[in-house]
Symmetry: C2
Subunit: 303 residues, 2 copies
């Protein structure tokens, strides 16, 4: 499938250009922070969350792509802020991410803390400005999208998962807690991306709830696949040392359930996600081949 | 004016109760973060921002106070997150605030970073949920309030000011940069509080712009007064060691302009704010004695 890889590269480049457009100009008294924001946002992310958002929007025949763009920007900035703070010396203490020095290695610890804060706040600023300036008929869906954008990365979502992950670093993790961490830390942001795509396309609460479930399944498959790659992958592919997530005792899906079950779980979760997605669109003959290929790519069946 | 002090204490206690109502319950896998959020939010803040918001709303004869409450909660949580991150070892490295141990001294550095992140994200979550669930006729003003709530604490506001402040720690600060820091780091949050009060009361863009200017003046007076107190106050009043803001070379309004001009500037900025506020309400005979007393209290004329 050479076509998919080319299309993916093209679409990811379009997201890069979108992010460039929204990033603040590096000027004025506070320009160091603008530079630090850009450094991490443009550090070669795969743009999976904004792509999932846009492609879900397209699957549901969303029309005005201008509504989605600020939310695509926002979710990537939220993802980036979480990585900057994850990498800090007081948290995971990582010097490299995607083969590049982490924010605090380049800008110092204080500025890396502020760069994370700045990206979180700017993400919400970009989305809230678009919501406030929306046409009256778009306002309810923009407000619903904003609600999801603030909920899923928050204390009952990504941050909550990160807290438990940090607290259990170096300790064995019980299975129920491992599920909790995967669901909150990884799946919630995938859910948010897809739900916002569906909401902005004008889908019903019922369909959005189904998309939330599909997002959860994709998120689980994606994170389990990450654990599998950490066990089997090579450094060049991952951009970080193999086993870098295994300082001290590190419970992963593979150490908890074994490789065979991990591989099977990736398949089951992703099959279920695809089934739900197809079901929501069946009666209306919806399609988006790229979206389904992207999901297969994320869970490692298509490279 | 014994009456004012009693009224202030009563109203601040009502804000405390409001915050208690919104703070997440300390249960579940991630309960450490809920505990850390509560520890800092309930650490005895003066609640100046939520009070200014509510009293500005009342001055403009706002009717449905339920609209304001989530934004009062949000702005106090944003203020608190900024204090937690300010106090971190990599930033100001303060062990005490308001006479209590800072977050990282109690919960450790990683958890303090996450507590700040959590408070920022939860602040936006509380406000965005209220905006999404608002009645259709309230939606535009809720969206405008959300826009201000995400803009003023952000990179062109509070975070931007904090960045410049951190970069210049221990170095002499030119006068234009000192103004920039005061405006962004302190005044922007005061502006946000008062603007949101006016917006939610249904005021026009023109009036909101005047309130923004009044908020700027109050913020400047408030921050200059803080520098004066740091020079003259005693530890019991301030809850932190006198001169604690003066590690190394520390440029303050007092060191830059002298005590006499600093006192005069507090008077001029606050007089101008009061003049603007009275002017916006004059033709409609608006009044709110408590609001004006609160402003005088903030700038140190009334204790």
């Amino acid at each position: 499938m050479v076509m998919f890889k080319e299309e993916l590269a093209e679409k990811a480049a379009a997201v890069d250009a979108l992010l460039e457009r929204y990033l603040p100009e590096e000027k004025g008294y506070a320009k160091t922070i603008f530079s630090a924001m850009r450094y991490s946002v443009m550090a070669g992310g795969k743009r999976i969350r904004p792509l999932l958002m846009m492609e879900t929007f397209r699957y549901f025949q969303g029309e005005n792509e201008k509504l989605v763009e600020p939310f695509m920007t926002a979710i990537e900035m939220i993802h980036t802020y979480s990585l900057i703070h994850d990498d800090l010396p007081a948290v995971d203490n990582d010097d490299y991410r995607r083969g590049r020095l982490t924010s605090h290695k380049v800008y110092g610890e204080a500025m890396a803390i502020l760069a994370g804060d700045a990206l979180q706040s700017y993400a919400y600023e970009v989305a809230a400005a678009a919501a406030a300036d929306a046409a009256p008929e778009d306002m309810p869906r923009m407000a619903q999208a904003m609600k999801v954008l603030t909920h899923k990365p928050g204390i009952y979502g990504m941050v909550g998962g990160q807290v438990v992950d940090v607290e259990l670093t170096g300790k064995p993790i019980p299975e129920d807690v491992l599920h909790f961490i995967f669901e909150l830390k990884t799946a919630d942001m995938i859910e948010a991306a897809m739900m916002i795509g569906a909401i902005l396309a004008g889908e019903s609460q019922e369909t959005v709830a189904q998309i939330e479930k599909a997002g959860l399944d994709i998120g689980m498959a994606f994170q389990i696949q990450d654990d599998i790659l950490d066990e089997t992958g090579d450094e060049a592919v991952l951009g970080k040392p193999v086993h870098s997530d295994e300082k001290n005792v590190k419970t992963t899906w593979v150490t908890a359930y074994g490789m065979e079950k991990a591989v099977q779980d990736v398949r089951e979760y992703s099959d279920e996600a695809v089934r739900i997605l197809r079901e929501t669109g069946e009666s209306r003959h919806l399609s988006n081949d790229f979206l389904f290929a992207l999901i297969e790519h994320m869970v490692g069946r298509k490279r």
